[in-house]
Symmetry: C2
Amino acid sequence: MAEQAPAAIGFNSRRSTRHSRNISGFAAFISLKTGEIWGWEHDDWGDPISVDRTIDAVQVDEYDALVIPGGQINPDLLRADEDAVIFVKDFYDSGKPVAAVCHAPWVLIEAGLARGRKMTSYHSMATDVKNAGAHWVDREVVVDEGLITSRNPGDLEAFSAKIIEEMQKGVHERRAVA
Amino acid sequence: MAEQAPAAIGFNSRRSTRHSRNISGFAAFISLKTGEIWGWEHDDWGDPISVDRTIDAVQVDEYDALVIPGGQINPDLLRADEDAVIFVKDFYDSGKPVAAVCHAPWVLIEAGLARGRKMTSYHSMATDVKNAGAHWVDREVVVDEGLITSRNPGDLEAFSAKIIEEMQKGVHERRAVA
């Protein structure tokens, strides 16, 4: 596990940062631009986080898992960025775990990864997930072919544990066949 | 026109407030709770707006048109509120104009109004609109059977003009047949 490094693209809150860092002791924060990014913490902006890499400069083979944080704004900006959508699609096609929490499944929808998958999401956007051809279920964490989804911040413990478990399993060979 | 009153549910920014008020000189601001609501103005919160009515207390026959403002957060909260979704559906079924700008088409999707309609939306969520069965087009304002949609704040002039035009046309009789 020591050499494994998950990447988090976009950003939500200090809470998801802490969870991402806990997964293997190291995570790279990938965003659309360099500089600092902030999450919204209940009623104010959280502490700034430095962006490690920009989405146009990263390669799939540099990371062992991809985590897409939630919030309403972050995934909406990511799904409108062509580099971000291609990176998510390529990462999934590599067979390595891709995880999305809260509203982040919008990015999975945009990358064409939802069709036929068992998934969950923040409850408000369940209709979008279903309309994209996924089988939406109301569960704290759902895994289907290395695609890991959770509903809300209350699910983060189970979400993180499942990411670690999937990283330990390694690459999903069956995915390239689909 | 003097007696016509459009209702705006949810809220985005001072700009959409101004546009809503301009439509006929009066608009009621309907929200999920009483009190004041704020929109995000470029880099800070805008001036507070007083909520006129709450969604659980309004009737379709009190208003002549319904405007749903955009932003990523507002429509996401509205679509998760059962009273709001039912109100939008009932308003549309009454044959009176229903207008949605930016991300507000998420509420139309939730109310089951997108299927078979020609619509536009903020570009980031075009996939959700298409997946809901609508024919998405990239135009500043689109009208289909009294359902008026626009893409972004730059379209607000055309959006407001079209709302006024549709209010002048009156109730869409054909809708009840569909």
